[in-house]
Symmetry: C2
Subunit: 166 residues, 2 copies
Amino acid sequence: MTPPSTPETSASLPEFERQVRKEIPLAQAMDLRFVAHDAQSLTVTAPLSPNINDKGCAFGGSLASILTLAGWGLVCLELQQRGLSAGVYVADSTIRYLAPVWSEITAVARLADGESFDGFAGMLAVRGRSRISVVCEVPLPDGKPAAVLIARFAAIDEARSRKAAG
Amino acid sequence: MTPPSTPETSASLPEFERQVRKEIPLAQAMDLRFVAHDAQSLTVTAPLSPNINDKGCAFGGSLASILTLAGWGLVCLELQQRGLSAGVYVADSTIRYLAPVWSEITAVARLADGESFDGFAGMLAVRGRSRISVVCEVPLPDGKPAAVLIARFAAIDEARSRKAAG
């Protein structure tokens, strides 16, 4: 299945947000919103208030959670749009915390350089498992990043795994 | 100031937990508990229920938050015990997610190999800033880690910074 050639913010984004907030209580506690999605990126926001730390800026754990969820969401939504069913898991991640965030948190996830969803989906179809690297940033008003995550996500086709195990 | 020579679980741990849960709403949402602390380690737990994901195991963002908070807590408590006042910030971290966690989450933070609190505190006293690396694991019942974080924390003596700026 080919992804739409002129993708805009997915019609399925509100439904995806509803499901994530229902199934992941911490996403609800952080008041996470999935605000924009296209073929290249996913943008996620959360207000400062539930994500504040003892210093009055964004808690590092909240930043880590939001960055990870934005990357995970980017991969999940792409698989949904391609009609592929697979569990998506974070395998590893590196985060650099560069500056404090004193207002609403925004995280933008994109594929890492050299990665492609076509290659990722192709491998998933052939082997039932695939990996892809995502970069996710929290931009400040001046455009510089306050935090940067690089993470690898694994997709596993559960049905094929069960079939192989049976 | 020399740290106590036979430190056991800090008398100040319940007070530290109360303060963290009050000042970091996400720690409260995760139902985080600081359960044991000595000169070498800090152990933090959280029940699965508020930290669950769409697959029924621990959410990666919760693991990242708990691991980060355990490392941060280890550094903060050591500074407290030495009577040192400094803000502690996570600078960067790498997490490997190795296995799903299907029950209560436990995270144990220790200094990374080659690090010492004496060196860290000495540098803080001399320069008003210092860095230290912490390793934090989520052990499974069989002793193998489900997740491992390596993180660098920066301590900044705010009073000295203000004095320098003034």
